[in-house]
């Protein structure tokens, strides 16, 4: 269960104060697949950073399973990101000189999983995101954008996080692979009770989520979803 309470994030730019997230409150039950839509610069990525403990709010709080992130020390926040969060960044943010499988193994290494186990799981995840096995050992900078996107998704799933935060996860994928990724995320939320929050411009993807939010000038509003709910929210 994630509770977002009166979340505010402001930035100072010269004399101006920008509020990409302005008094945002909502709740997401465990296993919910939700989406946030909005124009570029509307604060979607900032909100995602706050939920993922990458950034600290100016005011308000994010409470995950009853634990407030606002009062957590940095070391605990790192542990929270390692154990409970899976990030899919818009620009992938993979380590360029490592192979696809090494990139997927990284979060598991930080979590202390033994090498043999993490290697096996990394390969399984790469198969799951439909990356050609011949490319598992290939360096990231020798993969296409779509392939890198799939590696990034596999990395986000590595530690079986409770919450996956994905910024445009299908943005660089062809329609068929995009559909597969959407199906994968849906099955994760449905079968593994993983909460998934997706920032997207993709209307098709947004309509396949359980709940849909729109962020406009820092204000979040929930919109009706134009398709039946796939799985029951917690």
């Amino acid at each position: 269960m994630i509770e977002v309470k009166n979340l505010v994030r402001t930035f100072n730019s010269g004399d101006r104060t920008i509020k990409p997230v302005n008094d945002v409150s909502f709740e997401l039950g465990q296993g919910t697949l939700a989406s946030i839509v909005g124009k570029s610069g509307s604060g979607k990525s900032t909100l995602l950073s706050l939920l993922g403990a990458l950034d600290k709010p100016t005011s308000g709080d994010v409470v995950v399973n009853g634990v407030s992130l606002a009062s957590m020390p940095d070391a605990k926040l790192t542990e929270y990101r390692r154990r409970d969060i899976g990030f899919v960044f818009q620009q992938f943010n993979l380590i360029p000189n490592l192979s696809a499988v090494d990139n997927v193994m990284l979060p598991m290494e930080f979590a202390g999983i033994r090498k043999a186990a993490r290697l096996q799981r990394a390969k399984e995840l790469l198969v799951q995101v439909q990356l050609d096995p011949d490319k598992h050992a290939r360096r990231i900078n020798r993969l296409s954008g779509g392939e890198q996107q799939r590696v990034a998704i596999a990395r986000a799933l590595a530690n079986e996080p409770k919450l996956i935060l994905a910024d445009e996860p299908t943005g660089n994928l062809d329609e068929q692979t995009g559909d597969h990724i959407i199906e994968l995320l849906s099955s994760l939320s449905r079968d593994h009770n993983t909460t998934i929050l997706v920032v997207t411009h993709d209307r098709a993807l947004a309509n396949k989520t359980d709940r849909r939010f729109r962020l406009q000038q820092g204000n979040l509003t929930e919109e009706p979803v134009h398709r039946p709910v796939v799985s029951a929210s917690a």
């Binding site: 990525s45 950073s49 993922g52 990458l54 950034d55 070391a75 790192t78 542990e79 990101r81 390692r82 154990r83 969060i85 990030f87 960044f89 818009q90 620009q91 943010n93 993979l94 380590i95 000189n97 490592l98 090494d102 193994m105 990284l106 979060p107 290494e109 930080f110 979590a111 090498k115 990395r155 530690n159 910024d167």
Partner: protein, 485 residues
């Protein structure tokens, strides 16, 4: 992939840059190791010198030394007094003789040049009878220096002077030691046995024996008495090997000066007690009766070696610091360059210590590569660098004194007043050889132990140099570098 494997991989990300960094590091580390090797070699030499001759004092008659000066001769009673001084472990008396080849002496006397250097009449403390004839021929030619000294001291108005050969130094010794107190190196035959009794045996320097075609068991004469060669010794210098050793009583009898000593070699029980024992000896013997001297050329040598040691230590620290600074700057640059990557690692849950460790290990990989190349450089360069340092310092130290004792200490000419011309390093007449000679025998070799210690220091500095940038990574907040999203 482990942190170590990732660090090794990162170290080779940019091969050209890595090669450049390793090359610069190798020069700094190589210099550091070479300086450490020089430092250790000098330290070992200092220890060796201290252990060998550092505890020896020499007592000469006040106002006299060797065949120079005046004053009253030393006596056996004074030797007993010296032996009773606290911390004195041994006293060895010596008596010096100057041997002239009988044929040449007769020829010079006939030509009327006997009043010059060859006809020297003085001796230690005025020992006029110490110049004797022998069947031996000196192994050293007078040469230019001998001729020069002859011109200064030996001409008394005669238009032409016959060529003159150098005399042979004979020394009566109370133990099997040379005039510096060092144990004689017998290369053939035996010693003289009982050095406190008269004997017809003698020890000859190797070159003197060769010059006169003598071997162990051969005979020669001093005045009219026949002596048998009991052994041959190697003093390590040409001058030192143009000498004869007989027992002290034999020399005293030959000189006609029973009970008199030209000098005393006093051995002190430890280096720490040398200074206090010197003072005690001066008090016990009286400064108006005896001059007590320490191995001043040894002090000169030790002073030079000390300078080299200090310079090499400072250079080692400076080169090590430079290596550390290079690593620090490189790692700071790498941290700045990889801020985004560090942010990503933090975003996916990497603890600060893991990221810091990754950078420290990467620095150690660079240091290891630099050390490998640096060690190779040091193994080739350390000998040359050490020699250059020692050469420079011994030159600057020994070049300054040009007269009196200072010149003699450095092995410079001790010409005026000496018979037969040629150089007469005080070290031969006094207690020690030349400082320059002591210095040049320093051997700097890159031993595995010293190289290992040096590389250990490099790794220590590399860790310190890498810690600062590693700690910087802890201050990077993931959102700051990911905000570009």
């Amino acid at each position: 992939m482990s942190v170590l494997a990732r660090s090794v991989g990162n170290a080779f990300r940019n091969k050209v840059r890595t090669a450049a960094v390793v090359a610069v590091l190798a020069v700094a580390i190589g210099l550091a190791l070479a300086m450490l090797v020089a430092n250790q070699a000098v330290a070992a030499k200092v220890q060796e010198l201290n252990a060998s001759v550092g505890t020896v004092l020499t007592v000469n008659p006040a106002g006299g030394q060797g065949f120079e000066g005046g004053g009253e001769p030393l006596t056996a009673e004074q030797a007993a007094t010296a032996a009773a001084v606290p911390n004195v472990s041994a006293v060895v008396g010596t008596q010096s003789l100057r041997l002239r080849n009988a044929s040449e002496a007769a020829a010079q006397a006939a030509s009327g040049t006997g009043a010059g250097p060859g006809g020297w009449q003085g001796g230690p403390g005025g020992q006029a009878a110490a110049s004797l004839t022998t069947s031996l021929t000196a192994a050293i030619d007078a040469g230019t220096l001998g001729g020069r000294n002859q011109a200064v001291n030996g001409t008394t108005g005669t238009a032409t002077q016959p060529d003159r050969s150098l005399p042979v130094t004979a020394t009566g010794i109370g133990a099997e030691v040379d005039t510096t107190g060092k144990v004689l190196t017998i290369t053939d035959g035996t010693g003289l046995g009982d050095y406190t009794a008269e004997s017809s045996s003698a020890l000859l320097g190797t070159t003197l024996a060769e010059k006169n075609s003598l071997t162990v068991g051969s005979t020669f004469t001093i005045t009219d008495q026949t002596y048998t060669v009991a052994g041959l010794f190697d003093a390590g210098t040409t001058f030192g090997n143009n000498a004869v050793y007989v027992t002290l009583p034999t020399a005293q009898t030959l000189a006609g000066l029973p009970g008199e000593l030209a000098s005393m070699i006093v051995t002190v029980d430890s280096l720490e007690n040398v200074a206090s024992t010197k003072t005690a000896l001066e008090t016990a013997l009286g400064t108006d009766k005896a001059d007590v001297t320490q191995g001043q050329n040894l002090e000169t040598a030790l002073s030079s070696l000390g300078s080299v040691k200090n310079i090499s230590l400072i250079a080692f620290i400076a080169a090590l610091g430079t290596a550390g600074l290079i690593i620090l700057l490189i790692m700071v640059m790498l941290v700045r360059e990889r801020r985004r990557e560090i942010g990503v690692l933090k975003a996916i849950g990497a603890p600060n210590r893991t990221i810091g460790l990754q950078f420290v290990l990467e620095a150690l990989v660079l240091a290891a590569l630099g050390s490998a190349v640096g060690a190779a450089i040091a193994s080739f360069a350390s000998g040359g660098i050490a020699s250059a340092l020692i050469s420079t310092n011994s030159t600057s130290t020994t070049a300054a004194p040009t007269t009196g004792r200072g010149a003699a200490m450095a092995g410079a000419a001790w010409g005026p007043g000496l018979p037969g011309g040629g150089t007469f390093p005080r070290g031969e007449a006094g207690p020690f050889g030349g400082a320059a000679q002591l210095l040049t025998s320093v051997t700097a070799s890159a031993s595995p132990g010293v190289i290992a210690a040096g590389i250990g220091s490099v790794f220590g500095v590399a860790i310190i140099g890498a810690l600062v940038p590693a700690l910087l990574t802890a201050r990077i907040r993931p959102i700051e570098v990911l905000r570009g999203e």
